[in-house]
C-alpha cells in the first residue's frame, strides 16, 4: 500500500473513531460543496508540486505573479475616493497621499458614470453625491492639479463612459507635458459585468464591446504602462455570485474581451500583459484565498493553452482586490465592520493581491469620511508593517485544506465556464438574462439564510443589541457642490468655440458609424471642451438603447 492510500484508510478510521458516535454538523463552502472536518495529503489527489504550484513568479503562478512578492514590493494601497467637485476630490486625494495611500482610485458620481452633464434635469440630486462630478476635461485637470501623471497611478471606476474618461485623462497628461508612454493607471472598462451587477451600462452589449476593444487597441498602441481594463469579479460577488461564479463569470468575460481584441488584429502578447482583474474577499477567509490562487492558475493555463500566449506576462493575473465587500457591512454596531474589513483585507493579501482597497466601516451609511478612509488605510498598513505576513510568499501554500480547496474551485470554475460556452457565451447569456438570473438565485438564497439565521451575521441575526442611534459623523454632500459645478460648466460652455465642438462631434459620429478606432475622435471633442453628456448623447443616438431582460 502506498503512503497516500495508507493515509486515506487511516482517515476513514479516524472519521469513524472520532465522529462515529457523536457526528458534527455538516459544513459547506460558500460555493456550495461539502467540506471535510480535516484535510490530509490524501485529499490532494495526484498533487504535483512543480505542475500545480511551481515557484512564485513562474507558471502557473498559483503562488503569486511576482517572485519575491511583498518581500520586495508591498501591494499598492489604493483607497477609493471622490465626492463633490473636482476641487474637493483633489483635496481628499492629497490627504490620502499624505497619510500613506500609494495609488489613487477615483469614484465618479452617478451622473458622470451614466453619461449626464451636471446641468441635465435628470441628475440634479446626483451631482457630486457618491463620487466626483466630471463634465469636461477642466474638471479632470482640477482633480489631478499638482499631481504629475507620470509619478502616480490612478484607477478609474468607470465603464459606460470609459472612452470619455480615458480621453480626458490623456488630454490632461498632454496638458501637463507628460509623455503618454509614461502614463500609468487602470480603467475599469468592464462593461459586461455592468449588465450583471452595478448597472451603469449605457448601450447594448455589442456596441459597448466595440468601445471596450477600441480602448484596448488605443492603449496598446499609445499607453504602454496603462491597464485598459480591469475585469471584475468583486461586483458579481456583491450582487449574489458565490466564489466559483465570481471566478468563472469574470474569466468568461475576460475571454470575451481577449477574443474581441484578437479579432481586431492585435497580437495576444501585445495587450494581454496589461489586462488586470478585480476580485473581492468577503466573509469566508480560506475559500477566498483559495479562489484567488485558483483563478490565477486557471487564467495562466487559458492564456497559454487557448490563446497561445508566449510572453509570461500575458499569463500573469494581476489583481486589484477589495478587502471586505460592501454587501457585508452592517448598519448595526457599525464598528464591527472594521473587523470584517480586516479579515477580508488579510485574505486578499494572503491571496497575493497587487493592489488593495479596504472597505471603510461607515459605508453601510454613506460614502466614507476622511477619518474612516484613514482607518481603512491603517488596517492595510498594520497588516503590511506589523503582522509579519509579508515576510514569506504564499504562506498558506502547501496547506492540505488550501490546496484541496484551490483544486476544487478550479475544477468547478472550469465546469461552469464550459457550460457558459455551451450555452453560447457571455454576451448571449447577458442578453437573455441567464447569468443575471443565476446571480440573483444566490442573492435570494443568501438573504433567506440571513433571515433564518442559517448564515451568521453578528449584530444582525445574533448578538443583537438594542441601541440608541449613535451620533457619529457621516459624510454630507455640501449644499454648494451643485451650484458650484453648474457655474463651472456654464463658464466652460461660454468660453469654448461651439463651432469647433460641433465639428468634432460630427467627426465622432462618422467614426462611430464606421469601423475606425473612436478614441482619437473622442479626444478631439474633449480637447474642444465638448462635454461628457454631449458625447454620450451622440453615442446613444448612434448605438440605441439596451432593453434589460426580465430576470425576476
Amino acid at each position: 500500500m502506498d503512503k497516500t492510500e495508507d493515509i486515506r484508510k487511516d482517515k476513514e478510521r479516524w472519521v469513524k473513531d472520532c465522529l462515529g458516535k457523536k457526528p458534527v454538523k455538516e459544513a459547506k463552502s460558500v460555493s456550495g460543496f461539502d467540506l471535510d472536518v480535516v484535510y490530509t495529503p490524501a485529499d490532494l489527489n495526484d498533487f504535483d508540486y512543480k505542475r500545480d504550484l511551481g515557484f512564485p513568479g513562474e507558471y502557473p503562478y498559483t503562488r503569486g505573479v511576482y517572485g519575491p512578492m511583498y518581500r520586495r514590493n508591498l501591494w499598492t494601497m489604493r483607497q477609493y475616493a471622490g465626492f463633490g467637485t473636482a476641487e474637493e476630490t483633489n483635496e481628499r486625494f492629497n490627504y490620502l497621499l499624505k497619510v500613506g495611500n500609494t495609488g489613487l482610485s477615483v469614484a465618479f458620481d452617478l451622473a458622470t458614470q451614466m453619461g449626464y452633464d451636471s446641468d441635465d434635469p435628470m441628475v440634479e440630486e446626483e451631482v457630486g453625491r457618491v463620487g466626483v462630478a466630471v463634465d469636461t476635461v477642466k474638471d479632470m485637470e482640477t482633480i489631478f492639479a499638482g499631481m504629475p501623471l507620470d509619478k502616480i497611478t490612478t484607477s478609474f471606476t468607470i465603464n459606460g463612459c470609459a472612452p470619455i474618461i480615458l480621453a480626458m485623462y490623456v488630454v490632461v497628461a498632454e496638458k501637463q507635458g507628460v509623455p503618454l508612454e509614461k502614463v500609468g493607471g487602470t480603467l475599469q472598462n468592464d462593461i459586461l459585468k455592468e449588465y450583471m451587477a452595478r448597472g451603469t451600462w449605457l448601450y447594448p452589449p455589442e456596441p459597448s464591446l466595440r468601445l471596450t476593444t477600441d480602448i484596448i487597441e488605443f492603449c496598446t498602441k499609445n499607453l504602454p504602462r496603462f491597464n485598459p481594463i480591469s475585469i471584475c469579479g468583486g461586483h458579481l460577488r456583491g450582487a449574489g455570485a458565490n466564489p466559483v461564479q465570481e471566478g468563472a463569470y469574470s474569466l468568461s468575460n475576460a475571454i470575451t474581451y481577449v477574443e474581441r481584441a484578437v479579432e481586431r488584429g492585435l497580437d495576444v502578447d501585445s495587450f494581454a500583459p496589461r489586462l488586470s482583474f478585480l476580485l473581492a474577499s468577503r466573509e469566508e477567509f480560506f475559500e477566498e484565498i483559495a479562489k484567488m490562487r485558483a483563478v490565477r492558475r486557471l487564467w495562466a493555463k487559458i492564456m497559454k493553452e487557448r490563446f497561445g500566449a508566449k510572453d509570461p506576462r500575458s499569463m500573469m493575473l494581476r489583481v486589484f482586490a477589495v478587502g471586505g465587500g460592501g454587501i457585508d457591512l452592517t448598519k448595526e454596531q457599525p464598528e464591527t465592520n472594521i473587523v470584517r474589513a480586516s479579515i477580508g483585507t488579510l485574505g486578499v493579501i494572503l491571496g497575493g493581491a497587487q493592489a488593495v482597497m479596504t472597505c471603510p466601516y461607515d459605508e453601510a451609511y454613506a460614502i466614507p469620511t476622511e477619518e474612516s478612509e484613514r482607518l481603512a488605510l491603517r488596517t492595510q498598513q498594520i497588516i503590511a508593517h506589523e503582522s509579519g505576513v509579508t515576510k514569506v510568499v504564499d504562506p498558506l501554500g502547501g496547506s492540505y485544506y488550501i490546496e484541496a480547496l484551490t483544486n476544487r474551485i478550479e475544477e468547478e470554475m472550469k465546469k461552469m465556464m464550459a457550460d457558459v460556452e455551451k450555452r453560447g457565451g457571455m454576451v448571449k447569456l447577458i442578453e437573455s438574462g441567464y447569468v443575471q438570473g443565476e446571480i440573483l438565485k444566490g442573492a435570494y438564497e443568501e438573504e433567506k439564510k440571513l433571515i433564518s439565521g442559517e448564515k451568521a451575521k453578528v449584530g444582525v441575526n445574533m448578538f443583537r443589541v438594542e441601541e440608541e442611534e449613535r451620533d457619529f459623523e457621516l459624510h454630507q454632500l455640501s449644499p454648494e457642490t451643485f451650484t458650484n459645478q453648474l457655474a463651472k460648466l456654464k463658464a466652460v460652455k461660454e468660453e469654448r468655440d461651439d463651432k469647433k465642438v460641433k465639428a468634432s462631434l460630427d467627426r465622432l459620429r462618422s467614426a462611430l458609424k464606421g469601423t475606425e478606432n473612436t478614441i482619437p475622435y473622442v479626444m478631439d471633442v474633449v480637447r474642444a471642451y465638448g462635454t461628457l453628456g454631449e458625447i454620450t448623447a451622440l453615442m446613444k443616438d448612434v448605438f440605441g438603447k439596451f432593453r434589460e431582460p426580465s430576470v425576476v
Binding site: L110, M114, A197, R198, K331, A366, I367, L440, Y444, V552
Partner: protein
C-alpha cells in the same frame, strides 16, 4: 381579517441612476413567494416613468428601492407627481440605504408609509404591506 380575493399588486421601482438592484430583485421574489403580483421597473427609471407605470399597472403598492442617498428628494418628487395625477390612495414604501432615524421620520413626513432599511426581514415587509393594503 381574511385575505382579499384578488392578489395585492405591487410595483417595485428603481428610480434614478443607482444601479444596485440586488435588494429590489430579491424583494420582488419574496413578495411573489408571499402571493403578491409584482411588477419590476428595471433600472434607470425617471420619476415620470415610475409614476406612469404605477398608474398603468394600477398597483396597490409602490415600493421604491434607493441606495445612493437620494431617497428623500426622489420620494418627494414621486409623491408630488402622483398627487398631480390625482393618485393619493396608494401605499408607498421605500427600501435601501436609509442612514438615520431622522431620514426615516422625514420620509414619513413627506408621505411615505413604510420605510425598510437594508437587512429588514422579508416577513416584516410582507406583513406591513398585507395589513396596510387590507386596512384600506
Amino acid at each position: 381579517m381574511g385575505k382579499r380575493e384578488i392578489p395585492i399588486r405591487v410595483l417595485v421601482a428603481k428610480p434614478g441612476l443607482d444601479g444596485h438592484d440586488r435588494g429590489a430583485k430579491v424583494v420582488v421574489r419574496a413578495l411573489r413567494d408571499a402571493g403578491m403580483e409584482v411588477i419590476y421597473t428595471g433600472l434607470h427609471q425617471s420619476v415620470d416613468q415610475v409614476v406612469a407605470t404605477a398608474i398603468q399597472e394600477d398597483v396597490d403598492v409602490i415600493g421604491l428601492s434607493i441606495l445612493n442617498g437620494v431617497h428623500i428628494p426622489i420620494s418627494k418628487k414621486i409623491i408630488m407627481k402622483l398627487k398631480e395625477k390625482g393618485v393619493e390612495d396608494r401605499l408607498i414604501t421605500v427600501g435601501g440605504v436609509i442612514p438615520t432615524k431622522e431620514d426615516e421620520e422625514e420620509l414619513k413626513r413627506i408621505g411615505v408609509h413604510g420605510v425598510f432599511p437594508t437587512s429588514t426581514p422579508f416577513d416584516v415587509i410582507v406583513g406591513f404591506i398585507e395589513s396596510n393594503v387590507h386596512a384600506r
